[in-house]
Amino acid sequence: MSVTVRIPTQLRNLSGGAGEVSCEGATVGDVLKNLDASHPGFGERLFDESGTLRRFVNVFVADEDIRFLDGVATVVTAGQVLSIVPAVAGGQ
């Protein structure tokens, strides 16, 4: 299923300048892996060497922090919006 991934300004060099991209996946982890497959470079920016989401990266599904859902195992449904928010972004 396809979800919309919102890309923060700091990472738009990896998405060709796009603020949103569509990605397939059944879970947040799947979506982010597919994002890296279609736009190489996201993987190393989002995940550490052990494959864990970096602590300075926040991910929201339908405006809920996945930290309080099921983490990268959080199930996504078609049409949902997944937002990537770096820890030191969001202000101005």
């Binding site: 300075f56 405006d63 922090d65 937002s83 969001g90 202000g91």
Partner: protein, 220 residues
Amino acid sequence: MSESQTSARAALVLADAFAHRYRYPRDFGGWSAQASFGRDDAHYEATVAVCGAGDARAATAVRVAAPQFEWLTQELRSLSRTLFGHDFEPAEGRFAMSLDETPHPLGPLVVLHGDPHAATFRVRKHRITLASRRSGSLLEMVRVERWHVRPDARWLPSQWSVEVHDGALGQILRTDRYWDLWWPFEGEIVPQTRRVESIDTLGIRLASTLHLREWQPIGA
């Protein structure tokens, strides 16, 4: 929309969030309590009092290392500022503001103009979800992740993080994660536990805790 309309709308959004923030009534005199505090295996006892925003005192029966005592008083002052709060109008409300309503999971962005710390806020469901301020090359970002919400919908942060980023170095200097447990007392709320976990640039993690008990009201 004109600049003044944008500023008025931004002020409404931010003022509404401040109005929903829990704070003690003006005639509330504060409280004293017994405290256990420390980090890892070193814990100490203290008698503490919180009487106003930034007005917090602590005394220990035995000598406590300066860093630990400073940590205790710093956290008590932080709690006092949260609980006693401040008026919106003479503080944030005195600045012109703008509102960026581009969709964001933490809500629309309010930017203060003319503020020496270039403060910004994001607000969602009447709650502040993010606050940032600058000091030189340092950017401090406070992100509230969980709230304690009273039956009257007024909120206090119960889980939040502080990131300090140095723009000159291009790196995060420190991350502090806070967990606050609030307790009912005399019709108001007092802190029962504060846990702080700090991670520095080397990835070294330090956990500190403050437990309070036996609260007593202080007359106004």
